[in-house]
């Protein structure tokens, strides 16, 4: 029984570390985009290295948690759900890392008038991720308050959609090459994709929360 107590405590810590990595990843992503848009190339490279490191840490933690849940047959009733949450949350930080990499590889030329849109779009996507992480923590510890955070995830995702839409309209109104317009839209979609993924985790979480209340 003592072994089980130790294993449980260790797993609780690992789940917290995983969520910390996602949360921190979102902050690094936000600063990374700001650095790119502000032309701070050295800082931007540092952010890329940092997010890659966090993403890799989250991957390792997730694999570790999953194998321990199965090896020690812990939470048999909920482990499928927990696995689903961890994997889809891992996709969020993956998407953030990929997006920063795309900025680095493709170096999109962002017109000055669109920069506030990108900053705001990033802010909304990061806020939806932040609230998702809080909701997941609540799912583990305080199931009753999950809903309070889930609706914020949805709200910020809708905001991201709205800003993304405005950004695209603005871009296509501008006198630019069509390829350039496509490029700008493509990066807006990338950032929007983060909040979309956060929303799909939130949808799963809503169902799992119902399952958890007796």
């Amino acid at each position: 029984m003592a072994i089980l107590f130790r294993a449980t405590r260790k797993l609780e810590t690992q789940i917290d570390e995983f969520l910390n990595a996602v949360n921190e990843g979102a902050l690094v992503f936000k600063f990374g985009i700001n650095n790119y848009l502000g032309g701070e190339n050295r800082e931007f490279k540092e952010r890329i290295a940092k997010i890659a490191q966090l993403e890799s840490k989250a991957d390792d933690l997730r694999r570790n948690i999953e194998s321990q849940l199965y090896e020690q047959t812990l939470i048999p009733e909920h482990r499928g759900d927990v696995l689903g949450i961890l994997e889809s949350t891992d996709n969020v930080i993956d998407t953030m890392k990929e997006t920063l990499f795309q900025f680095d590889v493709e170096s999109p030329a962002i017109p000055d008038n669109l920069i506030p849109y990108y900053i705001e779009l990033t802010e909304m996507s990061v806020l939806s991720t932040d609230n998702l992480v809080i909701a997941i923590r609540a799912f583990f510890r305080d199931v009753k308050s999950v809903k309070d955070h889930l609706h914020k995830v949805i709200f910020y995702e809708k905001e991201a959609d709205r800003i993304g839409d405005n950004l695209k309209r603005e871009a296509f109104k501008m006198d630019l090459e069509l390829a350039h317009k496509f490029h700008l839209r493509y990066f807006a979609l990338h950032i929007q994709n983060i909040s979309d993924r956060a929303e799909s985790v939130a949808d799963r979480l809503a169902i799992y929360t119902i399952k958890r209340t007796i």
Partner: protein
């Protein structure tokens, strides 16, 4: 030979362990919260503890329903009950060992022409009805309490899982203890009155009666059944009626254990009585029906649509079909055992109503002019005595049991050598032993006459007025009376 005769009881115990261990740990194992091996070992240990330390209460009720007094008869009663359970299970009719054994005992009573204690029978049947209902009510209350607590406390999912595992182990152990305490009477109750094992003193520390030894053997049989054959039942039990979450499993097992416990604990009965509260009769009930009752209780709480009325109908049908089938099977089997295999299925018991018996019956308000016509007639068996009682008197079924008790002719001799050698000094009080010594050298032809002499010699042998508070004291004194009757019987 003893083991051969006990084998049917052991078989019944084994099958009870194989089936009912799943009621206790099935959901925990089915949901993979507890490993089968852990569950089976824990179940075995606590079933034995429950049987040995708390099994006496329900056995007393089973014993009062009918005193199967010959080992071959007890063998056949247990075998018929086991056969009925097996057969009805194959026909997928819900069946309970408790109901089968009661039917089988009544079958023996009919065959041997012994009167059935209608008060005990009424109590038993009422309890069958009460068992699933009470279990359902407990489950509902526990569910509401659990919902209030679990939905409001902030515990990590993993830690909650851990606490649930510990909870399932504790409630499972409690359930196994209650199962042993409540259902050992089904397995070994019929053998108690045949007295196959002698009492002995355990290193001068405790009185280890023949009954306790029987309970230990029966408990081991149940434990072996749980360990060897309950795995498949446990692994499939979860989804059989309703898929249970570990939280619900805990509630259901706890409700079931509480019901089995209140119908078997003498201490609880004593506490309830001494607190002026209504007590529960100590009766073996069906563990499966308690579980079904608890699941239905939770189901009703979650919406009527979850309740399958056919399940309740099946239980109600079982209340009638099982005892009737078991009774018939026993009657037929006893006929064959007695007439084909020439075994003594009920002890030859002599009944004589002499003047003193008549006076005694008068004192007890059993007056019937027909009894005078039976005066000093020697009846060689219960059948002949019952026939004449029915023909010549109009004594009720309830009074007939008392007539049997007082007219029971026996040979008792209070041997001083036996007093020093055999009487358990840890169990009987010094005053009680002194009273026995005062009667040294006396012979008795009726056990009750010896008891009257003892009552006159010491108030420690006197029964207290029949009030609820005195119930347990009198029960214990009756057990001591039975014990000294056995010790001083000449043809034992």
């Amino acid at each position: 030979m003893l083991l051969v005769f006990l084998s049917s009881g052991l078989f019944l115990g084994w099958s009870l362990g194989a089936n009912d261990a799943a009621n206790v740990f099935g959901s925990a194992v089915g949901t993979r919260m507890v490993r089968f091996k852990t569950a089976a070992i824990l179940c075995g240990i606590f079933v034995i503890l429950g049987a040995v330390f708390s099994g006496a209460g329900t056995s007393h009720t089973i014993g009062s329903l009918g005193s199967v007094n010959a080992l071959a008869g007890a063998f056949m009663v247990a075998l018929s009950a086991a056969f009925t359970v097996y057969w009805m299970t194959r026909l997928t009719i819900p069946v309970s060992t408790s109901q089968a054994i009661v039917g089988a005992i009544i079958g023996w009573n009919f065959f041997s022409a012994w009167p059935t204690d209608t008060v005990a029978l009424k109590n038993i049947m009422l309890t069958w009805l009460l068992c699933p209902v009470l279990s359902g009510m407990f489950a509902v209350l526990l569910f509401l309490l659990a919902r209030l607590i679990l939905n409001n406390i902030k515990t990590h999912l993993l830690r909650r899982d851990l606490y649930l595992r510990v909870g399932l182990l504790i409630t499972g152990a409690f359930g196994a203890y209650s199962l042993g305490a409540n259902n050992i009477a089904n397995v070994m109750g019929v053998f108690v009155t045949t007295e196959p094992l002698r009492d002995f003193n355990l290193f001068g520390l405790a009185h280890f009666s023949g009954t306790h030894q029987l309970f230990l053997i029966g408990g081991i049989a149940i434990a072996v059944g749980a360990y060897t054959y309950s795995r498949r039942v446990m692994e499939t039990v979860g989804g059989s009626l309703l898929k249970l979450t570990p939280e619900m499993a805990l509630i259901v097992v706890l409700a079931h254990a509480l019901v089995l416990f209140i119908f078997s604990s003498e201490n609880l009965e004593y506490w309830l009585i001494s607190s002026g509260l209504p007590s529960f009769p100590l009766v073996p009930v069906s563990s499966s029906q308690a579980i079904v009752g608890a699941i239905l209780g939770v189901g009703i709480l979650k919406g009527w649509r979850n309740v399958r009325l056919s399940v309740m109908g099946g239980i109600a049908a079982g209340w009638i079909i099982t005892p009737v089938v078991a009774g018939l099977v026993t009657f037929i089997a006893l006929f064959f055992l007695q007439n084909v295999f020439s075994q003594e299925v009920s002890k030859k018991t002599v009944f004589v109503i002499d003047e003193e018996v008549l006076v005694r019956l008068n004192e007890k308000n059993i007056k019937d002019p027909g009894l005078n016509g039976m005066l000093n007639t020697k009846y060689e068996n219960a059948g002949a005595f019952t026939n004449d009682l029915l023909k010549k008197t109009s004594i009720s079924m309830i009074d007939r049991k008392e007539v049997f008790e007082y007219a029971h002719h026996d040979s008792l001799f209070i041997d001083e050598a036996i007093i020093d050698k055999k009487i358990d000094k840890n169990w009987l009080t010094p005053g009680q032993i002194k009273a026995i010594k005062k009667q040294s050298g006396k012979s008795y032809s009726y056990p009750w006459k010896m008891h009257v002499d003892l009552e006159n010699a010491s108030e420690e042998w006197q029964l207290k007025p029949e009030t609820k508070v005195n119930k347990l004291y009198n029960k214990s004194l009756m057990m001591k009376r039975d014990y000294i009757t056995r010790v001083f019987r000449l043809n034992r």
